[in-house]
């Protein structure tokens, strides 16, 4: 342990209950990775603060001793955003799990960061409301992690991302100060720091409370599973649905390999031998949902659908979604190892990019299963490999990188919802120029001049923030320089 880390540990022991400060090597190791398990670092120290005040005190101590810290919620992230620092503190928010308020009349819920995403919806449902962002991991992922990653989910096609559903947050800054960003009402005066903090992957501080927007439960929901001969057909059907002026709650696509995996894992009743399936969900007022469903049904038929199965009850709907939401884990049954990608492309480029991915897969001999949010062009190619085979991991990495290049070439993004983390930091310069990245650093340096908040994530090369410019007082610099006069 470094001397700084020792000092932080001492303070944590004085401040926190004994079981909230973990220094035992074996126990530290249980925190060595998040959902991206092939990056592992044993943290120098783990703290599990019971309240925001003690969390802030630990961060303040980190600041005093220049010790890096990493915040972690449920640890389900898929880009290594919560990968610990060997000489740093891992701040775990799992004890901050109270839902403080659910106020349907205000369409708000106030929660601590360790609260599980789905629990917000469970708490709001009796009042006729729910929390819209729904990452596939929503049964276990935490709100704090959702804010850090600006999490999306299948339904963000219609309802937007975490950033569109948070009104206010309490933030522990990298100096250990507790500040409030935003207000319960929309449009708080001042810079939209909340909008910048959401999705900053823990590099600007740790959120200790969030005020969330609740959305009215829709009157009607229709979920239909549609089989196609090929991903091409399914992709064209998706574009045709959007072109018809329909904004479905979700349109998800899975290809043959992903279908096979999901079927083997959860017996979700997906059509046998289909080249692709779409899961399409429509929600809203009854009359509109019915009209749109008729249109969707026709469009799919015109694009060569082989089978359409409309969920007849909630259990049936849940089964259709189970196949989709368990797809990542299911792939584990057909391949010992896999990489999940998270690239985004313009929706209209879908058929072309899928063909190109297929081409890369064929020429490299690396299998790729495709599961994705077709409605917004967010691809989750699963690159399959067996780490026991020499060179297989490297070949998979290469295919994975080639897929990201395809996304960038088509004007897309290297990550739609999983975040950059440690995993994609090296790809950032492919998407943004040096000036773009430098400008992002201005924001980071304003919050964290010493670079102690989740260092090594998001940005490819850590940069020093340099001197904080002194606040200028007195005369305007232009005036002092004789370039302008007072008027």
């Amino acid at each position: 342990m470094t001397r700084g880390l020792d000092a932080v540990a001492d303070l944590a022991r004085r401040l926190l209950p004994a079981d909230a400060v973990i220094t035992d090597r074996a126990r530290l190791r249980t925190y060595e990775c998040d959902g991206l398990a092939h990056y592992r670092v044993t943290p120098g120290l783990v703290v599990v603060p019971p309240d925001a005040g003690s969390l802030a005190a630990v961060v303040a101590a980190c600041n005093e001793h220049r010790v890096p810290f990493v915040a972690r919620g449920s640890g389900t992230g898929l880009s290594g955003g919560a990968l610990p620092h060997a000489d740093g503190v891992l701040v775990v928010t799992s004890l901050l799990r109270s839902i403080r308020e659910v106020r349907p009349e205000d369409q708000r819920a106030v929660v601590e960061p360790g609260v599980i995403n789905l629990d917000v919806t469970r708490a709001a449902t009796p009042g006729g409301y729910y929390y819209a962002p729904d990452p596939s991991s929503q049964q276990i992922c935490s709100i704090g992690g959702n804010l850090a990653e600006n999490s999306g989910g299948a339904h963000c096609l219609k309802y937007g991302f975490t950033a569109n559903h948070v009104l206010s947050a309490e933030l522990v800054t990298p100096q250990g100060d507790i500040v409030r960003l935003g207000t319960d009402a929309p449009d708080a005066p001042g810079y939209d720091l909340l909008g910048a903090v959401i999705g900053s992957e823990g590099t600007l501080g740790v959120v200790t409370e969030a005020t969330l927007r609740l959305v009215r439960l829709p009157e009607a929901v229709r979920t239909v599973l549609v089989g196609f001969g090929s991903t091409d057909q399914a992709g064209h059907a998706t574009s045709a649905i959007i072109a018809a002026g329909i904004v479905p709650a979700a349109i998800e696509m899975m290809d043959a390999l992903a279908i096979e995996a999901a079927e083997a894992a959860v017996q979700c009743g997906y059509p046998d031998g289909a080249g692709a399936v779409l899961v399409i969900e429509l929600d809203g007022p009854q009359a509109e949902v019915e009209a749109e469903y008729a249109q969707v049904e026709r469009i799919c038929r015109e694009h060569g659908s082989t089978e359409q199965r409309l969920a007849t009850d909630p259990a049936d709907r849940a089964l259709i979604w189970k196949g989709r939401k368990s797809a990542f884990a299911a792939v584990g049954r057909i391949s010992p190892d896999y990489i999940v990608q998270d690239g985004v492309i313009p929706r209209t480029a879908l058929p072309e990019v899928l063909r190109a991915i297929d081409e890369v897969s064929r020429s490299s001999g690396v299998r790729v299963a495709n599961v994705f949010h077709a409605g917004d062009g967010n691809l989750h190619p699963l690159v399959l490999f067996d780490d026991a085979v020499h060179g297989a991991g490297e070949a998979a990495e290469e295919v994975s990188g080639a897929i990201l290049d395809l996304c960038i070439e088509h004007g897309g993004s290297i990550t739609g919802e999983h975040g950059v983390g440690v995993d994609k930091a090296k790809y950032m310069p492919r998407m943004y120029g040096e000036d773009d990245l430098d400008t992002m650093q201005l924001l980071r340096c304003a919050f964290d001049p010493d670079g102690i908040a989740n260092p090594g994530k998001v940005f490819p090369t850590p940069r020093l923030c340099g001197e904080v410019p002194g606040r200028r007082k007195g005369v305007h610099p232009a005036q002092a320089a004789g370039l302008a006069e007072v008027f």
């Binding site: 509109e288 313009p346 929706r347 305007h476 232009a478 302008a484």
Partner: protein
């Protein structure tokens, strides 16, 4: 009237970057006289002008159509006004991907017209006639349809900004879903030109509604506004807008109105319009067009214009407080964002009224911001009220604009 004496070197440097002229009295920014007016043709010219202004320490105020230049306190100085109206191109509309990119000086109406040809729309209300893309973003203007899709902040997916030092930076991109890097676009929205110059923006679009209806009922007081708002937002009618228009000395108190906008497919909209009319009760009327003044701010140029926000349970108190102050209130009751026009009596009376209104809004989870006011009122009252995290905001400003040249003094805490 040229009140700033800029050095010849500064003049020459700006002049070599793009089209430039001496400012006139009409170019004054909310009363602050301007020195030069530069009219760059594209992002690279903006960058060149900004490099010149950095080299010569010129303060810079960006201007689109100038419809909201009276908002916020006046800048301490305006050596250079950046007139962005030559940058008025819709650069790219990808109908299949439901996105559009436009230059900052493009009128919102022009963007709406281009995307409208393909049956699409940009759900950013034109709250002042002629408002541009850049101005609407910088001032974070919002109108009735924020109920439906949020504000420009929520629809923005990519931005190009020229920094105070002339560096061009992009953030976001051309796809709706993208979490790569910081979302600098959100930081710039509502920053009133104090962090950089927005030169291009890319937005997410929505399909145009096949049918629209406006269901209105007269309202006389805050109680009715509160009750009707809650009846509508908690129902299953999916309103595109829930607006109130109430009070003010020029109007008969009973002539207020409460209007719900609906959009979508013809059959559905008809059915929902019936449901809303039922919720609003006797006297509700269904119209095919928006009522007068829809989506416009309620104030006259010589009045005090306020933005009042609250959580929905606080609506009654905020509307009542505004009415009690003699203000005319118009805005999105359904999202808790209202605009109020306060007639100017004595400045002291206005300041006291703003303080009382602010106390009510803050207690109901919101804020009260003075967007525009006559100079004597502006000088004597705090336009922003409590601003949480002000210290962090100052640190952000210091990083982006260390010489404090971008619209100095216009923003919170004198930023």
């Amino acid at each position: 009237m040229v009140a700033t004496a800029l050095g010849e070197a500064a003049r020459a440097a700006v002049g070599s970057a793009c089209e430039v002229r001496e400012a006139t009295g009409d170019d004054a920014v909310d009363g602050t006289p301007a020195g030069l007016v530069a009219r760059p043709a594209d992002t690279s010219e903006v960058a060149e002008v900004m490099r010149a202004s950095a080299a010569h320490g010129l303060s810079v105020v960006s201007r689109g159509a100038g419809t909201k230049l009276a908002w916020c306190p006046p800048p301490e100085s305006a050596d250079l006004v950046l007139d962005l109206t030559a940058m008025d191109r819709v650069l790219d509309h990808q109908a299949g991907d439901l996105i559009v990119e436009a230059e900052a000086g493009t009128p919102l109406a022009a963007v709406r017209s281009v995307v409208g040809e393909q049956g699409q729309r940009l759900v950013v209300d034109e709250t002042t006639p002629g408002a541009t893309v850049g101005g609407s973003l910088a001032a974070h203007a919002s109108g009735p349809e924020r109920m439906l899709a949020g504000t420009a902040r929520d629809l923005l997916i990519g931005m190009t900004v020229v920094r105070a030092d002339g560096v061009v930076a992009r953030s976001g991109g051309r796809v709706v879903k993208n979490v790569a890097g910081y979302d600098l676009g959100k930081l710039l929205v509502g920053s009133f030109g104090t962090l950089g110059v927005i030169t291009r923006a890319t937005f997410r679009l929505h399909p145009a509604a096949e049918t629209e209806r406006w269901v209105s009922v007269p309202v006389a007081d805050a109680d009715a506004v509160h009750r009707l708002t809650h009846a509508v937002v908690h129902a299953q009618v999916v309103p595109a807008a829930v607006e109130v228009d109430l009070g003010g000395p020029a109007r008969d108190a009973a002539s207020g109105s409460f209007t719900v906008q609906l959009g979508g497919r013809a059959t559905g909209v008809t059915r929902r319009a019936d449901a809303v009319a039922h919720l609003l009760g006797g006297g509700a009327e269904v119209a095919q067009n928006a009522p007068d003044g829809w989506g416009r701010y309620p104030w006259a140029p010589d009045e005090v214009g306020l933005k009042l926000t609250c959580v929905l349970s606080g609506l009654r108190d905020v509307v009542a407080a505004a009415a009690g102050a003699g203000a005319r209130v118009r805005g999105s009751a359904g999202s808790g964002v209202l605009y109020a026009a306060l007639p100017v009596t004595a400045a002291g009376g206005v300041v006291a009224a703003v303080d009382r209104l602010r106390a009510t809004c803050v207690a109901r989870g919101g804020s009260a911001v003075v967007l525009q006011a006559p100079p004597d009122v502006e000088r004597s009252c705090d336009p922003w009220g409590p601003v949480p995290a002000l210290d962090l905001m100052r640190r952000v400003k210091e990083r982006f604009d260390p010489d404090r040249r971008m619209a100095p003094g216009r923003f919170v805490g004198g930023i």
